[in-house]
Each structure stands twice: as structure tokens, then as C-alpha cells.
Symmetry: C2
Subunit: 210 residues, 2 copies
Amino acid sequence: MARRGSYAKGVAKREEILQRALEVIAREGYRGASVRELADAVGLSQAGLLHYFESKEELFTEILRKRDEMDRVAFEPEAVAAMEASDGTETDLVRAGFVSVLRHNSEVPGLVQLFSRLAVDAADPSHPAHAYFRDRDAQLQESLSDALGAMQEEGTITDRIDATTLALVIQSVADGLQVRWMHDPSVDMAGTVTALLDALAPTGASTADE
Amino acid sequence: MARRGSYAKGVAKREEILQRALEVIAREGYRGASVRELADAVGLSQAGLLHYFESKEELFTEILRKRDEMDRVAFEPEAVAAMEASDGTETDLVRAGFVSVLRHNSEVPGLVQLFSRLAVDAADPSHPAHAYFRDRDAQLQESLSDALGAMQEEGTITDRIDATTLALVIQSVADGLQVRWMHDPSVDMAGTVTALLDALAPTGASTADE
DNA sequence: GTCTATACTCGGATAGAC
DNA sequence: GTCTATCCGAGTATAGAC
């Protein structure tokens, strides 16, 4: 794919850096971390690290992008659902994908901090991460709408609210819960969303397995 | 209440500053504003402004506190509900209070930005605003639980989820929606929460008036 | 009580050696 | 490609005059 050794090396190194940064932040947290701190953690000098990225903002945006990419393969909803089905557990795509990611998030506090922080900073349209969030939100909105729409057709969730609005609700509640959880780690993000989904099941139907 | 002229003056001036700061931020927005900017807007020098507050963080925390105070009197749920009732509109306390504030928020973008920004910064327990959020969240949680619990007894909302969890959901969805709305002002915060509440009405019951 | 002026810190960016 | 060194801006905090 890459034509030249040097170019390929650059890209490979970039990926390696992102990979490590991801691990470090996940494990050690991000409290408004500076490029210097991250550079240390990754084993480069500040200048060395910025050699691979345009700016601090671009660097952090790329970290989030990488995170999404990894979550996507690790929690591919269809795969998870299939796995759980063979398990005897009955699940829908929302619980299998979205809620699983949320559950996983409580294992990686630093990434949640980074995400939430950047989300508010990027509200400014001129912020380098603005486009990232626009695209991410749109994609998530679409896949959630699809999954929820399907559930409505199957009758596993109420149709008293349209799938688009419900997708927005689910996404927002997850974002809000993450901030809440940062303040008080005892809140159960995945459990709360699950409880909401359960409450939205059409009367009579039940997805709970107790 | 105040013993001494100077002390009373100090407190009064502080209030006046907060009042003005609130207006300015509401109208002109807060994009990570510095103390200097705010001082200019309020008609004081940076040092003059900090004369009244311990630090930047304390200043901004007090602004949010003041905001809550004003919202509390402007949107006192019982009053709003009573007003709407005399209007012929039937409402519950959640829609009358909480959702009204949310609707109002779209008029004051700067305050939403400030709130969201501080919310993520204050996740750090050593941040001066940490206690503010802890208390605020707890209070809101309590009043929402009470209101939702009452609605469950009246049968205007489902009891397939406990009031405490539902309160957390409502609060989180509002917080999440605010960030979403900052990115894309076309999202309808109040409308979305209302749609959720409608969807959670027990089957058969209806609060919608169309 | 409010201002001007300044000190100090942090952190991102950049130049240039190796 | 990576480092050291440096620069520079932003922004809070504080000293001291008025």
C-alpha cells in the first residue's frame, strides 16, 4: 500500500504512537494532559512527538479516532450478538454493541475524560476536532436509528417515539452518564442505559432474563 | 443582616458583579473566557475583579451558583405548573420545572458552555467546583426522583423503572443533549426530553395534547 | 476598592544540532 | 527522525500606587 519505506515507516510509527498513547491514557488517566506528559509516557520528547502531528489538538483527535476504530472491531454488534446468542443469551444490536462499549468505558477512565473534554472544546466550529465529532455523531446516530428501528419492527421496543429521536436520546444519555460517572464512579453507566431500554420495551414484552 | 457598611457593600458588589457576568456570558457566550475578558465586559480590571473572588475557578463556580438561584425562582415548578393549569394546559412538575429550564437554556448558550466546561473540569476532586456539582447533582436527583415518583403513583409515567434510576436518566440525557446542542444548535433539547417522557407514559395514558 | 504594572508559570511551537 | 534548547504567548496571580 505504501510506496516508500520512509513514508510507510512514518505511518507505522504514527500508529504505534497512537496505540501506546491510547494504552497510557486508558490506564493512567488524562487530566488535561499536556503534550509533554504524553510524550514522556510514550517514550519520546515533546518535539519528537509533535513531529508526527500538526498540533496538540490534532494529536488528541487522532487518539480518539484510533479508539473508535478499536472499539469498532472489538464490539462489532453483529459479532457480539451472535456470540451471546450461541451463549443462550438473547440480545439486540443496541445492547450488544452500544451498551457493551459503554460497559467497557468504565475500564478506561482516561479515555472517557479525554472524550468528554474534547467534546466540549470542539463545540467551537473552528476547533480541529469539530469535524470529528460531527461525523462521529452522525454515524452513531445512523447506526443507532437503524438498530432501534429494527427493534421497533420486531416489537422489542416501543414505537411511541420515533427511532431517530430515540437514537438521540440514547446517545445523549450515554454522554451525560459519562460525565456523571467521572464525578461519581459508583454510577452504573451500562446498567442505567439498560434499565431505560427495559422500561421502553412495549408493555407485556420483556427482555430481562431473571 | 450585614453588620458593617463595608462588608455589606462588598457582598452587594459581589452580587452585582455576578449578575452582570451572568448577563454578559448569557448574551455573548463563553468560549473558554479568561478573567481579563470577563473583567472588561463587567467594567473592571482583571485585578479589580479578582479582588472579589479567590481565583478564576471560584469566580466561575459562583456564576453557576447564581444562575441556579435565578432559575430556581424563575422556574419554580409548582408555580409554573399552577400557571399552566390556570391556562388549561395540564402539566406535571418535571415538564413544568426541569424541561422549562432546558428550554430556556437554548436562549443562553454561553451559560450552557460554561456549565459543560466546568462539569468536565470539576471531575477532578481537587477542583474548586467539584463540591458544587456534587451538591447540585444530589439536589436535582432528589427533586427529580420525588417528582417522578409522584407521577408513577398518579399513573402518568411508567413504573417499570425505579424513580431514582429514571431521575438519573433524565438528568443525564439533559446534560448530554446540551453538549450535542452546542455542536449542532438544531437539536431540540426540550422537545427531545419531552418525547422521551411521552414514550415512557404507561400504555393507554397520554399527556400529549394534540 | 480599584487600578497599573509586573512577576511567574505553563505549555505549545519551532530552530537547529546530531 | 529525534533530541535539546529556546522562544513566545496566554493567562492567573500579586504588589503596590492612588
